[in-house]
Every structure is written in structure tokens, then in C-alpha cells.
């Protein structure tokens, strides 16, 4: 479905006629819910929806067609015709996805039709953590939850904790209202996919609330530092679309990308040049570039940078960076010149693998952008679009909160998986008096729950979500159009019923009432539903030239502009015992682990190693040879806080001494496709946080690695396919 055709559909739909893409006309208005009698066999209907797989919040369209399922009624199998979703594509009208979609977004379908979905409410019958549950009724489950919640609320409502995912929108707003009615503290997100470092840096340097928008499409020379923006970062589809344009979308103009990162990420491999940086040296690297830029008189906007920062850059000793980063000065100089001499230079900074000094490194990169004079300009760093509806959950280190909590709600958060075992998360969850999980699956944390109150899948839900990165103010809208497959219940409804039972004054946030204020002149709710969202100006990012906006920087305002700190990163683990850096990273296919139960993603060859059904530990050839490790061998990775076993992949482009591993495997409970498959690299991390945001420092743990035995790494394409273990397919 392309933009033109989808436009045709949504515009004709407003007059009551919907054109099917197969050329037949449906002389009827497509109702919000596709009822059984409305389904025409063989006829397809495209409906807009929202992707809930990560925080990017892409708008999608789904293909709805008839299918048959067998259900049991009074002991007899009965065939039932239902409307089913056949395929997910990007919504061509959506400024984030622009009609395109990543692998994970397309696989959301397998979350909807996953055989391991919870089919109704469950209550715990065994000991906590053992995942023994029995079915219960919604009425009973809500009565039990209300009673326990009332008990805690009456004594001390501050002992109620709501842990959520990073997505902003009606769900987050509803939760905020519910907690307010309870008198409980606001919901907290403590997930690695919230990008707290990037948010905080933008706030400190520019005074921006939200993730900055990098105008990659219109830049000419880009220096990426620490952000795997084409992989598992803030908005992969948005930046991949821009990347295509950056490279080959402009006549006679090809953008050049240099990526400085401590791993050969997919962004680094797409780059024209990769600068392998030892973990945590990004800040020194960026400061050296800034110093050289000033020295070479190539800085265009030094006036925009606080004086003390310029002085710190000028006083910076480049040899410090040369030593720490292992990059020669003439190479740094060449980079500084390429940046400074480019007509539209841009530094894209982030912390895909958070270090203890990551905030400083992103701040330094923002100052570098100010020096280059590209802030608020086309091809530069643009301020985040205003969020038309509020409610983005706040990020906080929830560890201490969990310690003193009696009642925990979980929605979109899986602390038992994403928090290191060294935090004692398992014991803490076990100790919680009452734990209620809204996850549609039984996951690692759900195993500790007293009640599992499964939510609808995102594709069955009505919701408005705010994309993490959008070129214009945007809300992605999903309205329910297929019947929920099971006896699941929207969390908004469950909270409403809880509030009713507890006699609280509470009203959930529905897309219709929160969007009323976001609708611009001439827009109607019905139109928003048909288009799948509300956008300040619908259109692709490439198509429009972004207008220079006010930067809104706090430059020169003294105390608010952070001083430049260039501290060394801290690593935990004795160097003699644990000689290697450990580098767990959010993967393209699994993100922070929440897509591991989708069979397509398990069988999708890992972009690094081509591994399927189990992610490997990546080690450089030099150290591998020294330790006698070959690809496929079973290795043990040990930190002072735990150990894991997984197959090894000898990665020709791994930095010597840096052991990387994609996050995604090693779930204890997450359905048949993910449970007990592979190892969870997060589990062995030291409990170390970036001090200002409280974000988990993913890359701050040192490890040792030993070969255990020959093992098995399942790869789709090995380097020499003809010589593989099989002759032919």
C-alpha cells in the first residue's frame, strides 16, 4: 500500500465508500468494529493502527480479512468466522514510519496470534516465582485486587508502585489519573528503552523536553557518536528512512557518515568510516574534535556555547583523547576538518550502551553541534516536536522504590528480566505483598505476580500514543476493529472497575477526549480515526524542508548550562580477574528483550552473527585464538555478580577486549519460543547506574570468558556457505 492509494482509501471512506485494493468497491462505511456479518470472504480492508513494539510509536496500517477459527462450545468444536489481521505495513500518512516498518513491527502479528497469550485472568496458586496459576473470573480477580489495594491505600498509599513501559499516550495518562485518585506516587519507567540519558542531555543543554530530532535526511556530513540510530535505538524506522535519503535521495549529493562507537553496530557497518572507540571514551573523542575545530578556526557558532565550555574545549589536551581512544591525532584532525568544512555537518549522539559517563558524552556532543552552528537548522539538531497529549511516564531508578513497596502494578515493564540479578530484583519482587501484572503474556516478572490480568494486544486495543521522535507534533491512533481473541480486558477498563469498587473518582483517558484538544482546525475525530493519527502537518520528512526553528537554548544563562565534565568511565570488576569489558546491547530484533517470544524474530538471522534461536557472545579473533575459542564453542562469561553460558561467535570486527552480546534471550518465562532459550546478558551486570539519571550502566561491568566445550551456534548463512555442515538445502 503506498501513500497515494491509502490517501484514496481514506478520502473516499469519508463519503461512505471504501475502495478495496483489489479493485472492488464496498458500498458501505467500514464500522469501527468489523462484525462477523460484515466480513466478506476474500475481501480485504486496510485499517490504521499503532505499533506498540517499542517506544518509537510508528503508525501502521493492517490488512483485515476473514478467517476461520475453531472454538470449543459446550465441549464441541465449533467453526467461527472472525475478522483477522493478515499483515502490518507502515502507515503512509504517518510522519514517523512513512509507510515503512521494521522487522519487529511487522512481527507484532505474532504477538497477537501467539499461542502463549494469556486467555483470561489468572491467580497465583503456587509459591511466588514458580509461575503456578489457576484461572479465575474477572469479577473475582478485580474484587481481590481492589481489596488488597484498598488495604495498602488505607495505611500508606506511598507504598503503591506502578512500573510502566516508556510509551506516552492514553495508557500513561490513564495510569497517572488512577494513581492520583489513589493518592499514590506517579508511575515510573525504569526500562533501558526510555533513553533517559538522551532526554536529560537535551534538557540540560537546550532546555528541550524530549528526544532531539536529528535531521539526518538533510545533513551532508554526519558524525555518529555512541548512538546505533539505525539499529535498536530511539526510532529505527524514522532514522532508516532518513538515512536512505541522506545517502542517495539527493541528486549529485551523497551524505557521508562516520560512526564512532565501541561496537560494530549496524549503523557502524553502514557508515563510510567506523572509528572503534574503547568503551566510555566517547566524551574524550568528542571533546578532542571540539578542541581541533576551535583550533582550526572552523567553529561557526562559538558564541552559542557557554564561555566556560569553550574555554574547557580550548584547554583540552588532545593527547589525552589520542591515548584513551587509540585514534591518532592526524585522524582526529581530519575528522574535525571534514565536519567543520561540511556545508551541513551534524553530530548524532546517544548512548546505545550506557556508560557511567554517557550523560557527559551526549552533552559534549550537543556542545559540538552548537559549535558547528547547526542547532535548529535544516540538516542539524531540531527540537523535539511538542507532545500534543501529555503523560510521558517519568524515568527513575525504581530499585529503592521497590524496596519499600507493598503493592506493585506492572504494565509494559519486566524488571525480573531487565534489571540485573545483582540488584536482588527477584527477592524484592518475591517480598512484595501483592503484585498485579497486566502483560498479555506470562513473563519473567509475571511469575512473581499474585494476579495476571491480561491486557488486549495492541492490535486489539483503542489507544493514542505519542511517538518518541517525530518531526512534527504527532499522535498515533489505534481504534479497536477486530474482536479480542480471548477473555482479555483493556487495562483502562480494569483500572476503571478497580476505582469503582474502591469508590474513587476516576475517569480513564480515552483517545477521543484527550485528542479533542490536539485536533487542529477542520480536523474531526472521525477523520483522525480513518487516518490513524493526528499530525501537525502530514507528510514525509524527506518531502518537506524543515524550517529553522527557535533553538530555545539556555546558552549563557549561567547556572542552567552544565559545565563540561570530562570524567573517565568507571568499570566494575577487578582488571586482573575480569580483564574484558562486557557490552550488552539492545538488538534490532528483540529490543530490550520484549520481542523474544515472536517466532519470526527468533528465526530472523541476527544481523551480526546470522544466529537464529539463540544469541551468541561476540569476541574478537585475537583473544578468541588466545583462549582457544572458536565460533560455536560454548563459553562462560563471568562477572563478579554472576555468570552466563552461551555459544561464542568470533566476530572479525569486534574490538579486542570488548565482549558484546545482544539483549533478548535468557527469559525464564516468556512462552514457548523464548523461555529458557539462551542467556540474558543483563543478568550478570553489576548494579551500577549513571549517577544523574539513574539509568542502568549497561557497559560498566568487567568479565572474564572461558571456553567450556564445543557447542552449537545455529547460523543461517555462515561465511562460507558451501562448506557448512550441510551440502545443500
Amino acid at each position: 500500500m503506498d501513500r497515494r492509494n491509502f490517501f484514496k482509501i481514506v478520502s473516499t471512506a469519508s463519503t461512505g465508500v471504501l475502495t478495496g485494493a483489489c479493485g472492488k468497491k464496498l458500498d458501505r462505511y467500514v464500522p469501527l468494529l468489523v462484525a462477523e456479518r460484515e466480513i466478506v470472504p476474500g475481501e480485504e480492508v486496510w485499517r490504521p493502527a499503532a505499533c506498540g513494539e517499542c517506544g518509537a510509536g510508528c503508525g501502521v496500517i493492517v490488512r483485515v480479512m476473514e478467517a476461520e477459527r475453531v472454538v470449543e462450545r459446550q465441549g464441541d468444536p465449533v467453526r467461527e468466522r472472525i475478522a483477522t489481521i493478515k499483515k502490518i505495513e507502515g502507515n503512509p500518512l504517518d510522519p514517523v514510519s512513512g509507510g515503512r516498518l521494521c522487522a519487529r513491527g511487522q512481527a507484532a502479528l505474532q504477538g497477537l496470534y501467539n499461542p502463549d497469550r494469556l486467555r483470561g485472568p489468572l491467580r497465583r496458586v503456587g509459591p511466588k516465582g514458580k509461575a503456578e496459576f489457576a484461572p479465575t473470573s474477572w469479577a473475582e480477580a478485580i474484587a481481590v485486587a481492589a481489596e488488597k489495594l484498598e488495604h495498602v491505600r488505607a495505611k500508606d498509599p506511598s507504598r503503591i508502585l506502578f512500573l510502566t513501559g516508556p510509551q506516552a499516550g492514553t495508557r500513561a495518562l490513564t495510569i497517572a489519573r488512577f494513581l492520583e485518585a489513589l493518592g499514590a506516587p506517579p508511575a515510573v519507567t525504569f526500562e533501558i528503552s526510555d533513553f533517559p540519558i538522551e532526554r536529560k542531555a537535551a534538557d540540560l543543554v537546550f532546555g528541550w523536553k524530549g528526544l532531539p530530532v536529528y535531521d539526518l535526511a538533510n545533513a551532508r556530513y554526519v558524525l555518529g557518536v555512541g548512538a546505533d540510530f539505525l539499529g535498536g535505538w530511539a526510532s529505527p524506522v524514522f532514522y532508516a528512512r532518513q538515512f536512505g535519503h541522506f545517502r542517495q535521495g539527493r541528486a549529485d549529493l551523497r551524505g557521508r557518515l562516520t560512526q564512532a562507537e565501541s561496537r560494530m553496530s549496524i549503523t557502524a557497518q553502514a557508515a563510510d568510516l567506523w572509528i572503534p572507540l574503547p568503551p566510555g571514551t566517547e566524551v574524550l573523542f568528542t571533546a578532542a574534535i571540539a578542541h581541533l575545530l576551535l583550533r582550526e578556526k572552523l567553529a561557526r557558532g562559538p558564541n552559542g556555547v557557554p564561555q566556560q565550555v569553550v574555554q574547557a574545549f580550548e584547554a583540552f589536551d588532545v593527547t589525552r583523547a589520542v591515548r584513551a581512544c587509540g585514534v591518532e591525532e592526524r585522524r582526529l584532525l581530519r575528522l574535525a576538518r571534514e565536519l567543520g568544512e561540511s556545508e551541513r555537518p551534524l553530530v548524532m549522539a546517544g548512548a546505545s550502551v550506557v556508560q557511567t559517563n554517557s550523560l557527559e558524552s551526549v552533552i559534549t556532543a550537543h556542545y559540538l553541534n552548537l559549535l558547528l552552528g547547526n542547532v535548529g537548522k535544516p540538516g542539524g539538531v531540531l527540537p523535539p516536536a511538542p507532545e500534543p497529549i501529555g503523560g510521558r511516564p517519568g524515568f527513575a531508578n525504581a530499585l529503592a522504590l521497590l524496596e519499600r513497596t507493598q503493592f506493585v502494578f506492572l504494565d509494559g515493564a519486566n524488571p525480573a528480566y531487565t534489571w540485573p540479578a545483582s540488584t536482588g530484583v527477584a527477592q524484592k519482587l518475591e517480598r512484595v505483598e501483592t503484585l498485579v501484572s497486566f502483560a498479555p503474556f506470562l513473563d519473567d516478572s509475571g511469575a512473581y505476580a499474585d494476579l495476571l490480568l491480561p491486557d488486549h494486544h495492541m492490535l486489539e486495543a483503542t489507544a493514542a500514543i505519542v511517538p518518541a521522535v517525530a518531526p512534527v507534533a504527532a499522535v498515533t491512533l489505534a481504534t479497536q476493529f477486530v474482536e479480542p481473541l480471548y477473555e482479555t480486558r483493556a487495562t483502562e477498563q480494569v483500572l476503571t472497575e478497580l476505582a469503582k469498587k474502591m469508590e474513587l473518582t476516576f475517569e480513564p483517558a480515552t483517545p477521543k477526549n484527550v485528542l479533542a484538544s490536539a485536533l487542529t482546525e477542520g480536523q474531526t475525530w472521525e477523520e483522525a480515526v480513518r487516518q490513524g493519527g493526528v499530525w501537525a502537518a502530514a507528510g514525509g520528512v524527506e518531502a518537506e524542508q524543515p524550517k529553522p526553528r527557535k533553538t530555545g537554548t539556555r546558552r549563557g544563562e549561567g547556572p542552567t548550562a552544565p559545565a563540561l565534565e570530562l570524567s573517565a568511565p568507571s568499570f566494575f570488576g577487578d582488571t586482573s580477574q575480569f580483564p574484558y569489558y562486557f557490552h550488552p546491547y539492545p538488538s534490532l530484533q528483540f529490543g530490550d528483550g520484549r520481542a523474544a517470544n515472536l517466532p519470526w524474530m527468533q528465526e530472523l538471522p541476527d544481523p551480526v552473527s546470522s544466529a537464529m534461536w539463540g544469541l551468541p557472545v561476540e569476541i574478537d579473533p585475537q583473544n578468541a585464538a588466545r583462549l582457544g575459542i572458536r565460533t560455536g564453542d560454548l563459553v562462560r562469561v563471568e562477572s563478579a555478580h554472576g555468570r552466563l553460558e552461551a555459544p561464542a561467535y568470533v566476530h572479525p570486527a569486534a574490538i579486542p577486549g570488548v565482549i558484546s552480546m545482544a539483549i533478548g534471550d535468557g527469559h525464564r518465562h516468556f512462552g514457548r519460543y523464548a523461555s529458557n532459550r539462551g542467556a540474558n546478558p543483563l543478568s550478570i551486570l553489576a548494579p551500577v547506574w549513571e549517577k544523574s539519571t539513574g539509568a542502568l550502566a549497561l557497559g560498566a561491568t568487567r568479565v572474564r570468558i572461558t571456553r567450556l566445550a564445543s557447542g552449537r551456534l545455529i547460523q543461517f548463512s555462515v561465511s562460507d556457505r558451501e562448506q557448512g555442515p550441510w551440502g545443500y538445502r
Partner: protein, 228 residues
């Protein structure tokens, strides 16, 4: 004039995200294997992303390259089929007729691109995963070969639409699932018989090459090399 479908893949835009791989699974009802079968090399991906390492660390580069059936004009898979299950259709596609296939696997053996896959077993889906099946594409039974079709069902649908509206098929109107999904817009599909089509223009650009061109199979997939 008959169509002659071809594809151009811009390796300067491609960054190996594998959105195309997932799109192909969704569109074409590809079976999902399991670890035991996958370890025997029986996982099926009609399109894959090959990776190549060049040089040694730190001066190392990785190159990614999506590889799918190259729809060769002189297809090595075709003459070896004893039952004409794989043949060349009038629009230049290497078509696999599933109900003719007897599973000799000669075609897979003869394909230099390793893009043909054999169904060793009857494919299975755990209920209710089968609800996502695309009704436009047949589920291949056990014992037959399968491979990329350039999403022939999408081609036929567009042709029917155009015919119903009494107009020619527009350039860019046919989009196989992989092309549709590609976030970087690295893939372009179209009619090579139309010299004005985007794919024709890209195929004759200086950056265009074909995979293993020296074998003389005359593939209809053109790779645009990365720029300098």
C-alpha cells in the same frame, strides 16, 4: 509489450535491518522451523541478508547484501527440472509450480545463489498462528521446493486493478513485500522492458552490478554498489 520484472537494490541505502526478511515471511506464509531443524540448515528465508567482512580490525568493513531469487533470464534451475515444475513465465519470472514438483531438489543444487528451499516436512503452525496466513498465497506441502516469487500475487493483483480501470500498470505500482517494507527505500521494483521505469534507469546506472555475473545466468536483480 509484455512486462519483464526486475529489481534494483541500492547497497548504499541498505543497512542490513532485515525488515525485508520479516515482510517476506508475512506476505508469503513462510514456515517457521525450530532450533533442531534450523541447525540442519532447514530454516527458510526467501530473502536473506548476506554479510561480508573486508580487511582486518581496525580497518575492517562489513558489507551487507540482501539476496533473493535473482530471477535469472538464463536460470540454471530451469533446465534441470525433470517435471517442468520450475519454468520461465512470459514476464521473465522463474516460476515454481508446486503441484508439479516431485522434490528431486536438482534445481536447488544447480542454483548458484542458494535461494531455493526444500520443504522437508509438512509445515506446521501452532494455533492460532495460522490466522495470520495470507489467503493469496498457497501453503507449500512437504516434499516440494519453494523460493521467492517476486510476490507474483501482488503483480497479478495490480495487473487486474489496471485492467479493471482500463489503464496500463504504472511504474512503481507493483511492490513486492520486501520492497514495500524497506525503511531506507533501498529496493526498487519495476518493468525492465520500460526504458523509462525507475528500475531500468537504475539498472543502467554506473553503480549497477549483478551477483556472480560471470556465471552468465543473467539475473534480473541489480545491485547498486556503495558510493565513495
Amino acid at each position: 509489450m509484455a512486462h519483464r520484472w526486475g529489481m534494483a537494490i541500492d547497497l548504499d541505502r541498505c543497512m542490513g535491518c532485515e525488515a525485508c526478511v520479516a515482510a517476506c515471511h508475512a506476505e508469503n506464509n513462510l514456515p517457521v522451523s525450530d532450533p533442531a531443524q534450523a541447525a540442519k540448515g532447514r530454516a527458510v528465508h526467501w530473502i536473506r541478508v548476506d554479510r561480508y567482512y573486508e580487511g582486518e580490525f581496525p580497518e575492517i568493513r562489513v558489507k551487507y547484501m540482501p539476496v533473493l531469487c535473482q530471477q535469472c533470464d538464463e536460470a540454471p534451475c530451469e533446465p534441470v527440472c525433470p517435471v517442468y515444475a520450475t519454468y520461465h513465465n512470459p514476464e521473465g519470472l522463474n516460476v515454481q509450480v508446486y503441484n508439479r514438483c516431485v522434490g528431486t531438489r536438482y534445481c536447488g543444487n544447480n542454483c548458484p545463489y542458494s535461494v531455493r528451499f526444500f520443504n522437508w516436512f509438512e509445515p506446521k503452525w501452532t494455533a492460532p498462528l495460522e490466522l495470520q496466513h495470507n489467503p493469496d498465497v498457497a501453503i507449500r506441502p512437504g516434499g516440494v521446493m519453494e523460493k521467492c516469487t517476486f510476490c507474483v500475487q501482488r503483480i497479478e493483483r495490480v495487473k487486474l486493478d489496471a485492467k479493471a480501470e482500463n489503464r496500463p500498470v504504472a511504474d512503481g505500482e507493483v511492490q513486492p513485500a520486501c520492497v514495500q517494507s524497506c525503511p531506507a527505500e533501498a529496493m526498487v521494483f519495476g518493468d525492465l522492458n520500460d526504458p523509462e521505469s525507475k528500475v531500468s534507469r537504475l539498472a543502467s546506472s554506473g553503480r549497477a552490478t549483478r551477483l556472480l555475473e560471470e556465471l552468465g545466468a543473467k539475473p534480473k536483480v541489480f545491485y547498486l554498489q556503495r558510493g565513495k
